[in-house]
Amino acid sequence: MCFAYTALILYFFGVVFSFKRWISYTLASIGAAFALVGGIVGTFYPFTLGNMELLPKIYMSLGVNHTSGIFMTIAAISWIAISIYSIDYGKFYSKDMGLWLNLSFLGMMIILMAGDGLTFITGWEIMTVSSYLLILKHKGAFKEAFEFLAFGELSTVSLIIAFASLFLKNGNFSFTQNSGTVIFLIMSTFAFAVKMGIFPFHTWLIGAHAKAPSNVSALLSAPLTLMGVYGIFMALSIMPNLHLYNFQWWGILAIIFGAMSAFWGALHAVATKQLKTLPAYSTIENNGMILAAIGISVMASADPNLAIMSEFALITAIMLAISHTFSKSLLFLSVGHVKEALNEDNIDDLRGAWSAVGKIPALGILISGLSFSAFPPLAGFVGEWMLLESFFQSYKFSDIITRLVATFAGIFVALAIGMAAFSMVKLAGYTALGYDHGKKAKRMPSTLMKVSELFLAILVFGFGIFATFVLRYFGYSQFTSGLFGVPSPFLMISSVPIFGVVSPMFFAIVTSVLFLFPLAFYLTKNKVRRVNSWNGGLPIEEGEYFTAQAYSSIIEIVFKKIYITKEKRSADEAHIEFVDVISVFYDALKGTILKIENVLSNTLMNGNINAYVAYIFAVLVLIFILR
């Protein structure tokens, strides 16, 4: 309890001390460490920080329970990494960045600890507004920041409607068991889905993540969208018992939108050439997978026989959220490091980060990329294996429609996972491992940036290898076992009785043992001859490198109906154009509204005093008539 208090106070001091950058960021990281401990404690021993009565029956309350404890633990780890990273990285930006960073952490803490709607909205708004101001720290990001704010406020408005519905039913805003209503569920899910960047409300996320400073991108992508996930968990937890009421429609919608998001995000991640747009689309993909997992859990919970499957899908969502939060923080921080050092935007121009910038940021990109590619035994592999196992079990549903939906959604998710690997190979293969351009990296203090990257990289490994212990820690020990000579609890099982099994730990052990032989051979051999790879017999020249565009062209050409691909060609120039159809729609919407606004301001609000007097007169007449 005192840890959570301390964290809140430290964030407050971080805001106050924002005139001195390093103090502000250091306070934020210590605060995050306290939040971590608070989260761990809260997971096992739920506590409250007290109520504050505003009006009779209407009060604001803070506290941590099992679910919010888990989410606080996950988020706090990401906060720690981001604030340590910012001690070095923040030097490139103005002093008030520390202020807004602390404030947004504070907002998220409040969201996670909120025991009622009013507190929740307060935290939500603090987080949204301070994130908006953080995006603005990057020069020229006004349009993107504003789009972020617009969607952020859209979700706030629907949250207000949701909580109003709570108030109508219960007479207060507090989150208690069975207090939810259907309108609350619909509106709050919409609000959280917008925050998670679920298709087709994902366009804000792309611009904001790509344009924001990299520590802010990490913040937006990992902990901020995690708040959306937490919101859905929270909303479902206060709904009336899912066994008794039929919420299958919610599950089906969640699976459909989740799978669509995953597919759409992965598809566009494949095509993009911008360094930071790619991870942004990957965020959409991952949040889609999380939503789909929650959807399966809700559908399974309708059937008492499928209680185990429902629990498994739920822990799948949590594992996916963990892997996404850690890996995506790591990815954005490493990518930001490389981008800042080389001062380039395109994947093509950032080749050879390993030798040009440093081994740790390159390793960060590589490990997070592998994690998103579901490479065993990393955290992303565990999450995606669990998700596919959840989908494989959809044959257990009794309803044919549910089965069909889950099956087709599973196909899309599997495609998404495959394409994610494709895009991550592009990202890591070009930036971290690609041939060096020979570009000189900017010299900058980066020790703490490397510390935070290494910290996250170890966690991505650790949460993969020790996934079974993570499951047990969260109270899902029924999904760990021992079999085939693998001692308990090193084996993960996807159902009881056993359906599918995997042991990331033993995978790691076996591969590292196998790796020992070539390593020993390599170390004992004194003479190692290094040669360039064969390239037709001639040294490869600058204009002959296979470009990142070329890597994904085939997909853009094959899926030209989805990307609206246009191949433009003039005498000596050629390029491929493609778009995200959804953003085209929003752009058209924006254009129409601007046009209407323009017409209205030119005709009705024309600045002519006579016209305004006439309006007043007309209103008076209208009032008389109506009376």
Partner: protein, 404 residues
Amino acid sequence: MKILLGVFRKDINYYVVQDNGIVLTETDPADTYLPNYASVKLRDMMINSDQSVKDGDGVFDFRYGPVTSGVGEAGIYHLYTYGERILSVSIDLSYKHRNIQNRMVGLDLKSGLKMAESICGNFAFSHSLAFSKAVESAIGVNVDSKSQRLRIIALELERIYNHLYVIYQLAQTASQKVLTSHLSYLFEESLRLNKKISGSRYLKNFNDIGGIKNFDEKTLQDLKTDVQKIVNEFKDLYEWALESGNFLDRLYSTAILKSSDAMSLGITGPTLRASGIREDLRYNDPAYENLNIPIKEEGDALSRMEVRAEEIFESQRIIFNQIENFDAEINAETTEKGFGYCESPSGTMVYKIDLESQNISDVYIATPSLFAFKGIANSLVGNIFTDFQFAVESFGVNFADAAL
């Protein structure tokens, strides 16, 4: 119809050879030349380097060669692309450049013939024939009818094995394993047949200046049955191949060469005939009777394969015809002094030779491959990577033949 065969230089003047041996000088009005006059004149070893698409997001030079699997000889294909789509192609022939024309100057006729035969292995007989015809017309030797007929037979044998090879390569590229294996066997059979007739699998050392000597006429009867056997087996395979949707899909509409482009580039042979133009030097030769050389309209890889396949049947008919009329006299085709040409398996082969006391004092060689590489570069634009091999194989040409 105007066909530019070559441009050769003598003293300070350039001479333009077109329309089956008609020689113009460079001082004639410019519109009498074909558009590719300049490039043929310069004998540029880089084809289309001035037409490359180099700018644009992600556009790069996908260099294929000089020593890469899939490129049969040393040479480079520069495929400019933003991935998958081939935007423009330039081809570097220089690795196979051996400066043959200069090296031939000063040689005696015997060594010249030997060198001509060695320019490009699979067109050995065509080179040898065009060379000897040029020399014969320069020194005024008449060739006896039997030799003329034997030359026709050998030329058609060369055509059969080359066409079999091209179709075999196309089948292999399309992973038609069974067809490939059968065609590979037929190709080997046709080489063995060459050996039986000429003593050389590639018909080398068979032709000589003045005619073909030391030939045993008894082998002719065997030849008929051997050719019949190969062509019959091929006919069955070809009919089955045309029923394979997989195979045809890879060829149909791949690397289309429009007839107007083919004409202006100076393409000859089966490639030109696959673009819908009726052109063949054999029509001018009185030794051939009732020619019915196939023509296709589409100009794609499939049309080129069809033309080649049907030419195999036509070659069989020509060989049979020559064997049946082996003893009948024929009039020799007359050409301008110092010119010799023939219809090689891939198009028109021309030699222009000047002699000085039985030694070669000047030589100009025009081969079908020189022009065909321009056709490859032209037809590949807009296709994708996987079409590349089909385009290249369907033209049936060699760097060695083009670079000289």
